[in-house]
């Protein structure tokens, strides 16, 4: 039977949405509180790793498959580049801010920084999940 005991599985399924939400909180509040794209993405990826450890990799792959992760990583990278190109199109320079700055300390502030962090968060999440999938899929069932 795949996975660990019923206790671990129940707690993992209870904690998964909250860990996901906390990662999203770290990503979105990257310009106000400590955190940002990378730690938030790692936390979201760790919530998937929690499902892998508790249920086994087949069940986790129904949530986020290998192809999903590959596509998501590309989407994150492309989003960053397009956000950078906005500045170039308006004649300033690459990655320059073109959005209004807003009031200091509000959630909608700092121009394109939160959007860039969102892209980085998606990319890091998909990247870490891909690393885990690749390392777990290779040499399955031939341990000594």
């Amino acid at each position: 039977m795949a996975g660990m005991t019923v206790i671990v599985r129940t707690i993992a399924r209870l904690l998964f949405p909250f860990t996901f939400l906390f990662g999203a909180y770290i990503v979105i509040h990257g310009h106000l509180t400590p955190g940002g794209g990378f730690p938030g993405g790692v936390i979201i990826a760790a919530s998937i790793v929690m499902l892998i450890l508790a249920y086994g990799i087949e069940r986790a792959q129904k949530k986020v498959g290998f192809l999903h992760a590959e596509v998501l990583e590309s989407v994150g990278g492309i989003a960053i580049v397009i956000l950078g190109l906005f500045g170039l199109l308006l004649g300033i320079s690459f990655l320059q801010n073109v959005f209004p700055l807003g009031e200091l300390g509000q959630l909608f502030s700092a121009g394109n920084l939160p959007l860039l962090y969102l892209g980085v968060g998606v990319k890091v999440t998909a990247g870490i999940i891909l690393i885990f999938y690749a390392m777990l899929f290779a040499f399955r069932g031939e341990e000594e």
Binding site: L32, T33, P34, G36, F38, L104, G105, M135, A138, F139
Partner: protein
């Protein structure tokens, strides 16, 4: 007393010791992790200001930006270390993958034996 710098450099020396003298690829990766930890500690200590606060505007600092600038620690090394941690984790994953690959191919984790088998 520059205790932080000394400990950071001792960590770096410990990492180099592990990289040079240990005969196991995964143990060498652990040494690499220790080495980068030392470097991060050194860089962050370099930007510290006595009695400083974090480089984040919060609380009552919003109305006192000059006071914030006079008390906060240096943000530039922190950004540098942030980049460095990401690259560190990439290197870690890649090195561990290569170690697994080498073990499957040569049947050993000893770098000197791997070299001997190739000849």
């Amino acid at each position: 007393m520059d205790f932080n710098y000394i400990i950071a450099m001792l960590l770096v020396a410990l990492g180099i010791y592990c990289l040079l003298l240990k005969r196991n690829l995964i143990k060498m990766v652990i040494g690499l992790a220790v080495l980068t930890d030392g470097i991060h500690l050194f860089l962050i200590s370099l930007g510290y200001r006595l009695g400083g606060t974090a480089a984040i505007v919060s609380g009552e600092m919003f109305s006192d930006l000059p006071g914030f600038a006079a008390h906060a620690v240096d943000p530039v090394p922190q950004a540098l270390v942030l980049t460095s941690i990401v690259i560190n984790i990439c290197i870690l994953a890649l090195a561990l993958s290569l170690a697994i690959y080498a073990y499957r191919h040569y049947g050993t984790l000893d770098p000197s034996k791997i070299r001997r088998l190739k000849e």
